[in-house]
């Protein structure tokens, strides 16, 4: 056969595979408001950058009538491409082929691209849209999931791993996204749960829809399983592309440097934080007043919103911002906010992203439910993460820094490299009211007018301790600065800490309070 004919045959074979699950299945996918797996990859990656591998892989199942059945690409597409020129490895499950179900060859394609990503030290993106394990392939399906989880764990902290949930992702399948760094969900399309509504109904008699059980909003607002929420697939892809610009290819590199840009003039740092410590404000405006081009890329915006996390740039370099949010629940630390911030701190540390922490919190949230939900061990995660982190750590205390909250929020004692405080900072063991009531209990009780004495003692305490100068006198903070100097000092701190050495004793790994 002449080569020309062989090329024709190749084209024909490719054409065949590109049909996915066929016209009907594709129509069904479209009817569900979803793009096809290939459309998704093309929309996400740079134009013409995608190269597909393992197109001709076939399943090897023989039981339950699988013998002779053709499943194009075995229901998953793998390959490499670029996003804004950054190399990425990608897989996308194809729901039009046997519901994107995971059989052994399907899993082998995924693990192949995972191995490639790790070997080449490039980010991995997984698009999940699958009915789950391919029941006909039995335990081979389970083996496939296990192989994926093992690689997710092996790659964790070495290459960025991104999961995109664009369809069902149920049962064991949920654990691959859960092991990765960032999970993206889209309204009305993403569904994630361990056991679905039918099982819940048969076992517990409880009725709930897929959407209410594990829809995009549930994971973006209640569970914290998702990091980014979008209204459409295209919006989701824009978010992924933006994320890629902030993070490095792997843990031996720095994130790409951008042209430095001054913050926008409409964010005037001196006008944001009210003088009265009881008045709230949106701490994201402070971040925007500090960050290059006032650009702040927030992560987990709607979950545990009492703490704010996300990426921005200082002088063109990516930094991770962690900030208490006085606007939500007074900015307290609790189970979820500690967990959220701790994981982000560990992410930044793993990928050489300096940390900027903005402090203004009344402390940990009191309450029986918090104590019983384990605020001790969850709160400890934040202490652990900050203590462990060796990237440059800059802390700015805006207003309240009381008690355990002061220590936890990247304090000097957890080895912050630079701690700056605004003149409005109040750094003390506890709030004036509480402290005065304890220290002067006797005087207050014995006074002819206890209430007047109490007020007087609170004022005395405020005067003496609700300021940055007691901490400054001990060197716990490096300097008290005017708000308008914040960006300049952070830029300088970043400059002088780029060659930071922070050796720690060797260990296999620590035992963080997971």
């Amino acid at each position: 056969m002449p080569l020309k004919n062989k090329i024709e045959e190749l084209k024909k074979r490719k054409e065949e595979v590109l049909q996915g699950g066929g016209e009907q299945a594709v129509a069904k996918q479209v009817a569900m408001g979803k793009l096809t797996a290939r459309e998704r990859i093309i929309a996400l990656l740079d134009e013409d950058s995608f190269n597909e591998y393992d197109m001709f892989v076939e399943h090897d199942a023989r039981d339950f009538g699988m013998d002779g059945k053709v499943l194009h690409g075995d229901g998953v597409i793998i390959g490499t491409g670029t996003i804004f020129g950054a190399p990425v490895a990608i897989y996308a499950q194809d729901f039009t082929v046997a519901g994107g179900s995971l059989g052994s060859m399907h899993a082998r394609k995924i693990t192949k691209i995972m191995d490639y990503a790790l070997r080449m030290r490039i980010p991995l993106i997984g698009i999940n849209d699958s009915g789950g394990a391919r029941i006909q392939e039995g335990v081979n399906s389970l083996a496939g999931y296990g192989e994926i989880f093992w690689r997710n764990t092996l790659s964790s902290g070495i290459i960025p791993q991104i999961s995109v949930i664009l369809g069902p992702c149920a049962g064991g399948a949920v654990y691959s996204p859960a092991l990765t760094d960032f999970v993206f969900v889209v309204d009305k399309i993403s569904k994630m749960f361990i056991t679905g509504p039918e099982v819940i109904k048969s076992v517990l008699g409880e009725e709930i829809s897929q959407e209410d059980l594990g829809g995009a909003k549930v994971h973006a607002q209640i569970t914290g399983n998702a990091h980014f929420y979008a209204e459409s697939e295209y919006e989701c892809f824009e978010q992924i592309k933006k994320l890629i610009t902030y993070i490095p290819w792997n843990n031996t590199r720095k994130a790409r440097r951008f042209e430095p840009k001054e913050p926008k003039v409409n964010f005037n740092i001196e006008d944001i934080v009210p003088g009265d410590p009881k008045e709230s404000y949106d701490v994201r405006d402070v971040i925007r007043a500090i960050a290059d081009d006032s650009d702040f890329f927030e992560i987990q915006e709607k979950w545990a919103a009492n703490i704010v996390i996300g990426f921005g740039r200082l002088n063109g370099e990516t930094v991770g911002f962690v900030a208490n949010q006085p606007l939500v629940m007074a900015g307290v630390l609790d189970v979820d906010s500690s967990d959220k911030a701790a994981r982000f701190v560990r992410y930044c540390n793993a990928f050489n992203i300096p940390l900027v922490t903005l402090v203004d919190l009344p402390g940990y949230l009191p309450g029986i439910d918090q104590e019983h939900a384990g605020v001790i061990r969850h709160g400890a995660k934040l202490l652990y993460a900050y203590s462990e982190a060796t990237v440059p750590k800059m802390t700015v205390i805006l207003r309240k820094a009381y008690g355990g909250g002061y220590i936890a929020m990247s304090s000097r004692h957890l080895r912050a490299d630079f701690v700056f405080a605004w003149p409005s900072a109040e750094i003390a063991v506890m709030g004036p009211e509480g402290a005065a009531n304890i220290i002067f209990r006797k005087e207050i009780a014995e006074a002819p007018d206890p209430e007047a004495m109490r007020r007087q003692k609170v004022e005395e305490y405020k005067e003496k301790f609700a300021n940055p100068y007691v901490a400054a006198a001990k060197g716990y903070i490096d300097t008290v600065i005017e708000p308008s100097e914040t960006r300049k000092l952070l830029l300088h701190a970043l400059e002088v800490s780029s060659t930071k050495v922070a050796d720690r004793p060797f260990k296999k790994h620590g035992i963080p309070p997971f």
Partner: protein, 77 residues
């Protein structure tokens, strides 16, 4: 039953505290993000905002009221 975190009609107290201001009246139209009540708790005047736009169905508190955690303060229809 809707999870309280996804409830965009009912505004409750996240912690016990004292109501120091009520910004809306029954029957009033509100936009998403409008301040409904101010709750003094955790050393802060917490602005509790409308989770969605609509007409105020009920206002259960007045300034000076002590409220317990989870108490329904304002509901929107």
């Amino acid at each position: 039953m809707i999870h309280p975190k996804l409830d965009d009609k009912n505004v409750t107290a996240f912690i016990p505290g004292t109501i120091i201001d009520v910004k809306v009246k029954k029957g009033q139209e509100v936009k998403q993000g409008d301040v409904l009540v101010i709750l003094d708790a955790m050393k802060m005047h917490n602005r509790l905002i409308a989770p969605s736009a609509g007409k105020v169905k009920e206002v259960n508190v007045k300034p000076g009221d002590r409220v317990s955690k989870g108490a329904l303060l304002v509901s929107i229809e």
